[in-house]
């Protein structure tokens, strides 16, 4: 119970900070919509839905990177992570609280992005929505771990995409597959499996990331 209470307190803190600044959600939302607008002009006529969905997943991935680069900004600013790490709570609670907040920010950005995609490109099916939700879970899980690693580095803006992009390739494969395949269930299952594996790995390894 203490663990869940810690996670809840940490996630609420992040949501409260974001409600006050609105920095992350606003920049993510503007970025994803602007990207889709640019893509709508850059995609040749008759390029087909496959290409359009490919671009959607590129936009989602880069929007996630934008949000993740800011994920530990408040902790980095005043070395608050040191204070959290010294608390007697399980350190994985810090990861889980942050990952929940990151997931919420991603989901909010996509509440705007998916209708924008439908407006500029193709109607959005339930399979696409399910794939986006599963992709957000995976991106939040692995992205939060990598964002914590990158936060300690001076080259964090460069380091995070370098670390995340290779690990996010399965998410793009699963997302595009679920969006265009005749058998989306297979790809949704693949995304769910990815989420499970990387959530467990991130949960178990966070302690080693935030301590020497």
């Amino acid at each position: 119970m203490n663990y869940l209470a810690d996670v809840g307190a940490l996630a609420r803190k992040d949501l409260r900070l974001e409600l006050r600044s609105r920095d992350t959600i606003l920049s993510m939302t503007l970025f994803v919509v602007a990207t889709l607008v640019v893509f709508s002009f850059s995609l040749p006529a008759g390029a087909g839905e496959e290409a359009a969905y490919g671009l959607l997943w590129v936009a989602i991935l880069f929007t996630a990177i934008l949000g993740l680069t800011r994920a530990f900004a408040a902790e980095r600013e005043q070395r608050v992570l040191d204070g959290l790490v010294l608390a007697p709570c399980d350190r994985s609670a810090i990861w889980l609280g942050k990952a929940i907040a990151v997931f919420a920010f991603l989901a909010l950005a996509e509440v705007v992005a998916l209708p924008a995609f439908a407006l500029f490109f193709e109607p959005v099916s339930w399979e696409v929505v399910a794939a986006v939700v599963l992709a957000d879970l995976g991106l939040a899980a692995v992205g939060t771990l990598l964002a914590a690693m990158a936060a300690a580095s001076r080259a964090r803006e460069l380091l995070l995409p370098l670390l995340l992009l290779p690990l996010a390739i399965p998410i793009v494969v699963g997302g595009v597959g679920a969006s265009i395949s005749d058998d989306p269930g297979r790809f949704l299952g693949f995304l769910a499996l990815y989420d499970l594996i990387f959530a467990i790995l991130s949960w178990a390894s966070f302690e080693y990331v935030v301590t020497e």
């Binding site: 940490l10 006050r20 608050v80």
Partner: protein, 194 residues
């Protein structure tokens, strides 16, 4: 409570601490002095467990949740209020009667009226007082205080004097400071780093 043998810490090729032997008993108050860059903050961070030694051995006989660590930065969120910051730490440190304890500390450090203000609006001295509240919130057994007088005006420094006077002899304290004379009446030992 703290035992170090041949303790050393490097940052890259820079050697900050080297070959330090240290014994701090329970309820000691050790004043750590030295010029900038002599390794005072590094020693405290090592004792807190935030850094790992690169040489020697360090044994700190205190659980993670029983250490109070005051750093150069207040370790609080700038866009949360004083009350929200302390409430978060109080939850994570499992402080019993959290609200009463927070209220008492805010009153004691003269921050009660500013409890609903965001830390970003605080002066340097107010931030230091809040950092002291955070450090003392869970009534730690071991206190590691890095420049506790930094940023405090005379009234704040007097409050801190009284607080340290009440803790001396009851808790173990390591205090890194450029004002060792302030703590001379309370100190049981002094470590001068070169």
């Amino acid at each position: 409570m703290i035992h170090a043998r041949g303790l050393g810490r490097n940052f890259g090729t820079k050697r900050v601490l080297r070959d330090l032997d240290l014994d701090v008993r329970e309820r000691d108050l050790l004043v750590v002095t030295g010029p900038n860059g002599s390794g005072k903050s590094t020693l405290l961070a090592l004792c807190a467990g935030l850094l790992a030694p690169t040489a020697g051995e360090l044994e700190v006989d205190a659980e993670r949740g029983r250490v109070g660590y005051l750093a150069h930065e207040p370790l609080v969120y700038r866009e949360l209020t004083a009350l929200e910051n302390l409430d978060l730490y109080g939850r994570l440190y499992r402080v019993l009667e959290r609200r009463e304890r927070i209220g008492m500390l805010l009153e004691r450090f003269d921050l009660w009226e500013a409890r609903h203000e965001r830390v970003s609006a605080f002066s340097r001295g107010m931030q230091q007082r809040l950092a002291l509240c955070r450090t003392l919130l869970h009534d730690p057994d071991l206190l590691l205080l890095d420049e506790p007088y930094a940023g405090l005006d005379e009234a704040g420094a007097t409050l801190l004097d009284a607080e340290l006077g009440a803790l001396a002899g009851k808790r173990t304290l390591l205090v890194a400071t450029h004002e060792p004379e302030r703590l001379a009446p309370l100190a049981t030992g002094r470590l001068a780093l070169a």
